[in-house]
């Protein structure tokens, strides 16, 4: 007997088949989408994505990047407690940092966003101050009140410098939304810039006719005054809190270097000259100087307690770029010293990111000509120290790791 399917049976089979096909399709679609999501997340994670957006929380996009839970050196950081001896503030690059006057708070700018955050080592906390986007901020210079110059590269390839202030009202309380960063753009292609205070800047710009011009201005770029001109352009500048301006023709290994103090009439007074691979660190309210040399594959560091004093070679091998003066009355400085000899062409290779070192940190008493090690590298962490800052009390030393531009703080 032939069993004939009824129309209702056919419809049931068809519906079941359609249902299976739909479920299969959905399953396939799920697998496909999941793979894509995994691939995207993997790629994003590798790029440093995967963190909160620049809004909402107190610290925003950097929240996941900031070591509020544990540092890479395995030292727990507990919010509310004092920061550990060595505190890794960020894992992602920063553009620069600077301590607030008379406090231990450290301002810093994210490299990716240009957002300003402030770290408090007394409580191991980090708060976001601004959420104005300045993507790809390569360099930042802070005044002692948190006013900042953010430097980047414009689409046309020019170097841009945005001078901005952070009003006290931007200090957020928990849950508040960070405020805007407001300021003005300084002239394009500033070669180097230094901040004396929250009101005074000195910067060098290329002269269209060749050479360069040194200009002082206020933080809004107003009141510009030409105080220096030169047929050369490769200058680095220091505008100290006492108003002294120092300039250095950029260093290169084995090439004689010269550093000068800029006088009010625009003339130059030689501070130290004809030193191969010369790097300098002048000091405010003093004519003391730390300077380094790089010649024949060897680097050396020297100090002068005053302008008329004889230079003393210090028993540490590093460059002045890795040093910072303490602001106390005594002539105390802290210097990072590569644990292994830097080798030939160190300045060139270091400035171009071709070599990185693992540094120890030393306290230098320039008056006595003595040095003392205050930090030895941890085996798992190689810190190529640069851009050092020290708070007014001399309790904390901040620096960037030149190898990845992460931000660190050492309790002294």
């Amino acid at each position: 007997m032939i069993h004939m399917s009824t129309p209702s049976t056919i419809i049931k089979y068809a519906a079941a088949a359609i249902l299976v096909m739909i479920l299969g399709g959905l399953a396939g679609w799920y697998v496909f989408v999941h793979r894509q999501i995994s691939a995207t997340e993997s790629a994003d994670s590798a790029r440093g994505f995967g963190e909160d957006a620049s809004f909402a929380s107190g610290s925003g996009s950097s929240f996941g990047n900031i070591s509020t839970e544990a540092t890479d050196v395995g030292i727990a950081v507990q919010a509310g407690n004092r920061a550990p001896k060595l505190w890794q503030l960020t894992r992602t690059p920063v553009a620069g940092a600077g301590f607030e006057a008379s406090t231990t708070k450290l301002y810093f700018a994210e490299r990716a966003s240009g957002n300003i955050l402030v770290a408090d080592p007394g409580r191991s906390t980090i708060e976001r101050r601004t959420n104005t986007l300045f993507s790809k901020t390569y360099e930042s210079i802070f005044a002692r009140d948190g006013s900042v110059i953010l430097r980047g590269i414009s689409d046309s390839g020019d170097i841009s410098s945005f001078a901005a202030r952070i009003a006290s009202s931007t200090s957020p309380v928990a849950g508040d939304t960070p405020n805007k960063l407001e300021g003005v753009y300084l002239p394009n292609d500033i070669i180097d810039i230094s901040a004396r205070s929250k009101d005074q800047l000195f910067f060098i710009i290329p002269d269209p006719a060749g050479g360069s011009t040194g200009i002082t201005s206020d933080w809004k770029g107003a009141g510009q005054k030409r105080v220096f001109s030169s047929a050369l352009t490769n200058w680095r500048v220091w505008y100290l809190s006492d108003g002294a301006i120092y300039i250095l023709l950029s260093a290169s290994d084995d090439v004689l270097g010269n550093a000068f103090k800029l006088n009010s009439d625009g003339t130059l007074t030689s501070v130290v000259g004809n030193v191969p691979g010369l790097t300098i660190l002048p000091r405010a309210n003093s004519s003391a100087l730390i300077f380094g040399s790089s010649e024949g594959g060897d680097v050396a560091l020297f100090s002068k307690a005053s302008a008329g004093a004889t230079a003393v070679r210090l028993p540490i091998r590093t460059i002045a770029d890795k040093c910072v003066w303490e602001s106390s009355r005594e002539l105390i400085a802290y210097c990072a010293v590569p644990e292994t000899p830097p080798g030939a062409s160190y300045l060139r290779n270091w400035y171009s990111g071709n070599v990185h070192s693992s540094d120890s940190i030393w306290r230098v008493d320039v008056s006595a000509g003595t040095t003392e090690r205050v930090y030895s590298p941890i085996e798992s962490v190689a810190l190529d120290v640069e851009n050092l800052h020290i708070d007014d009390s001399g309790s904390y030393l901040s620096f960037m790791n030149a190898a990845d531009k992460s931000l660190w703080m050492l309790t002294l």
Partner: protein, 342 residues
């Protein structure tokens, strides 16, 4: 005969008396003080020597005074040494001699001077690079003389001095002259070196100074960096010969340090990229940039770059980098599986 002998006798005995009365015109000023070095620097030791074409200095008493104070005396004392002192503090020196021709005095003032020679190359420095632009072939070199000529506390302006520039011993006449305190000249040839010297002096020649420096040609180098979508060009991390990159798609940028160019994408630069021996054509507006997508590819991406210059045939740089992407498998060799590069 008697008369002749008498006359000769008179002349013979009278000669010394005549000689004592004989004065060579200008003999009292026919002494000079020479200085070595001729342009002393502050704090240096200066050798002063008394000279005369007439006076017998070796057998005559000589007295030296420095700033009015006797510092040396004696027969044949023709030389003394003094410290040049500080800039702006001239030292007055006098030397007097008593010889058979009479007395003579010479005066001079030692003004220590110094000149600092600063230089840089016109070569390309990437943004935020803190080092000096070095002298690679094809670039020009700008040299600036900073003279420190002081009289008292007043410095003579550099614009009022007369400069004579020399390059490897040859006077650069067209580039020398009054106020020409800076110089632009070509960089040394590849693997070569040049010595640049300058002499500066006041218009009356009372003050002078010299300085020289040696500039060695630098070998051009090109560095490869990641151009990160968030952080920009990672100038702090030049890629080594072999690099692991935990990403699938990466943009690179080549930076030719100190190349004769205004930026890395200067039209005068010629980039020839290869990835695993395959030529890669890149955007003509940004020839320094290379993007590699390693998705689905295997092996190591070997990036080769040859950099030339359209008009400077001495300029050239090459680089080779092995990039190991996280998405690719190592050890296979990527020649048969080209990465998607652009």
């Amino acid at each position: 005969m008697k008369i002749i002998l008498t006359l000769l006798s008179v002349l013979f005995f009278a000669l010394p008396a005549y000689a004592q009365e004989f004065k060579i015109p200008g003999a009292d000023t026919a002494v000079t003080i020479s200085m070595s070095p001729s342009a002393p620097t502050p704090g240096s030791t200066v050798r002063l020597t008394l000279k005369s074409p007439f006076h017998d200095l070796e057998n005559s008493p000589i007295e030296w005074r420095v700033n009015g104070k006797a510092v040396a005396s004696g027969v044949g004392e023709t030389t003394i040494t003094v410290n040049a002192g500080n800039a702006g503090e001239g030292i007055d020196v006098s030397a007097s001699v008593e010889s058979d021709l009479g007395s003579a005095v010479a005066f001079t003032t030692v003004y220590p001077t110094s000149i600092e020679l600063l230089w840089e190359s016109s070569g390309y420095r990437p943004p935020f690079y803190k080092g000096r632009a070095l002298a690679s072939a094809g670039n020009s070199i700008r040299i600036v003389a900073l003279p420190h000529f002081l009289i008292g506390k007043k410095e003579i302006p550099a614009s009022q001095l007369i400069y004579t520039w020399k390059k490897s011993g040859e006077v650069l006449g067209s580039l020398s002259g009054k106020g020409r305190s800076s110089l632009v000249t070509g960089a040394p040839m590849l693997y070569g070196a040049d010595t640049i010297s300058v002499e500066a002096r006041t218009s009356d020649g009372s003050l002078a100074g010299t300085a020289s420096l040696r500039i060695v040609s630098d070998t051009p180098k090109v560095a490869l960096y990641i151009d990160h979508p968030l952080f920009g060009i990672l100038f702090h991390k030049a890629l080594g010969a072999s690099t692991y990159i935990p990403e699938t798609e990466v943009s690179f940028v080549a930076i030719p340090h100190f190349a004769p160019a205004s930026n890395e994408n200067d039209r005068r630069l010629e980039y020839a990229w290869q990835v695993n021996s395959g030529t890669v054509r890149v955007d003509t507006d940004t020839p320094s940039h290379l993007t590699i997508n390693a998705a689905g590819s295997t092996g190591v991406a070997v990036i080769d770059l040859s950099l030339g210059h359209v008009s400077d045939f001495f300029f050239g740089a090459e680089g080779s980098w092995q990039i190991n992407f996280s998405q690719s498998q190592t050890g296979i060799g990527g020649n048969s599986d080209p990465f998607r590069a652009q």
